[in-house]
């Protein structure tokens, strides 16, 4: 049967230099993370580079790898911050602010407050930190990779019912996060 190692186990193995575990984490989260980066950065190649660069750093500094919340949340938050960094660096901040309707108030000038910016994407990163690992994974596969419930069930070797239940939970958290200011 398919047993997914828990987040802390995955982190522990990567810290110990387990290449297979690192590769498997990369393969299972790459598409979701690139799609997520694409919601913030309009350039596809840059989005891919940002995610690859994140994984490069993770492996390079693996002995310093410390993840308090969920692994999924960590990855999404890291991609989020890198995207913001990229945006502020390419001096398209204002353009981005105009184009992104999801922003709810004005835009800050410096990178530090940009990171704290309370937009939809950063809420997603927060939701993913709160959701159990598998639930967050299912949410990403459905919302970012566009997989149907049945396809997710198959990929993760779980029942469609399990996917349903997890998606229900994810929606509830999503709604809660939107309500929080």
């Amino acid at each position: 049967m398919n047993v997914m190692p828990g987040d802390s186990e995955i982190v522990r193995r990567i810290r110990q230099g387990d290449k297979g575990q690192f590769e498997s984490l990369f393969r299972s989260s790459y598409v979701s993370l690139v799609r997520y980066a694409r919601t913030m950065i309009k350039d596809h190649d840059t989005a891919e580079e940002i995610v690859q660069d994140l994984f490069f750093r993770i492996w390079k500094d693996k002995d310093k790898l410390q993840i308090e919340s969920s692994l999924n949340g960590y990855l999404f938050r890291a991609v989020h911050n890198r995207c913001l960094h990229h945006i502020s660096h390419s001096k398209v901040v204002e353009k981005y602010a105009r184009e992104t309707v999801m922003f709810s108030s004005g835009i800050a000038d410096d990178t530090a407050s940009l990171v704290n910016y309370n937009d939809l994407q950063s809420r997603i990163a927060r939701i993913l930190e709160r959701l159990p690992s598998r639930c967050g994974k299912i949410f990403c596969m459905n919302r970012f990779e566009g997989l149907k419930y049945s396809e997710i069930a198959e990929k993760l070797s779980v029942s469609v019912k399990t996917v349903e239940a997890n998606m229900g939970r994810a929606l509830k958290e999503f709604r809660k996060a939107l309500a929080e200011q």
Partner: protein, 334 residues
Amino acid sequence: MKETNDTGKFTDREWEELAAHLSGENTANGDILSRFAEEDEYNTMKYWKDLREMDNEREINVDRAWDKLHSRLRDNGLMSEEPVVKRRFLTPAFYRVAAALLLLVGIGSALLYMNNNGLLTRKTIVATNGDQKNLEVTLPDGSTVILNRNTQISYMPGFGRGERSVTITGEAFFDIVRDEARPFTVDAGKAMVEVLGTSFNVRAGAQEAPVEVYVKTGQVLVKGTGEGSELVLEPGFIGTVYPDRSGKSVNTDPNYMSWNTGLLVYDGQTLDIVFRDLKKVYDLDIVADDPEILSNTWTSPIDNQAQETIIRLICASFNLAYEKDGDVYHLKRK
């Protein structure tokens, strides 16, 4: 907090229905939807859908991305050159078995090393245990091998320099990159398989069983241990090699490669055969409480559906009910 309490207006079941509807899975009952829409001052429905409506026209190629990252890590001295292993089904037990095997091989190799007067003979070994199948291994020459359960392949450090050879026990599907200058050989114990560039399946299981080689594309040369036991196999043929004889025949079993493809097709086989295949291919355990259930016949293809879906399909077809006990599905008459 008022906002958070709002989420309490719906039961978990209702959240599930809402999520399924908003994700385009099914049509939820209109009542919950309109109740939710009324409460939806935070635009949950819109944002939920927005996440999906991004520009997805560019395909994201994970293999290519991994190759790129891997070579960057390698160029920076952060990762060594090794076979790339795609773990499709991870189990901690696998790591333990693999680690134990590697340790054993390490000890074995060290002994050989001393024996061979300084020749480096440390093999690369990839192995699967009984819970694991479809482990894909990329060899240094770019050829791929997919391992079934309880399978092990190994090759020496010089692989690809002058010759390409691997040793196998168990069952694996090989897709070999064509290289006329360097023939590819598989040592399967009782048989030796030699190709230039083809795809084929080798089944080298129990000691007493023959070695079977099934060819998907190209041409394959199979040599037994006896004299004159050479076989040339074309696509669609299975060569069977016993210690003292060998022969070839056209494969008539449409499910021969199901362990790899996941596709099972039937043409009126009884359920006991179907269940045996499901165990082999999907590790799905089904028990019929009434043996008569097993004599029903089956004609639909099964193609990588989720376990639950397969069970429901069977139950619906024969008016059965099921109960799940651990990993085992029990079927009974309604």
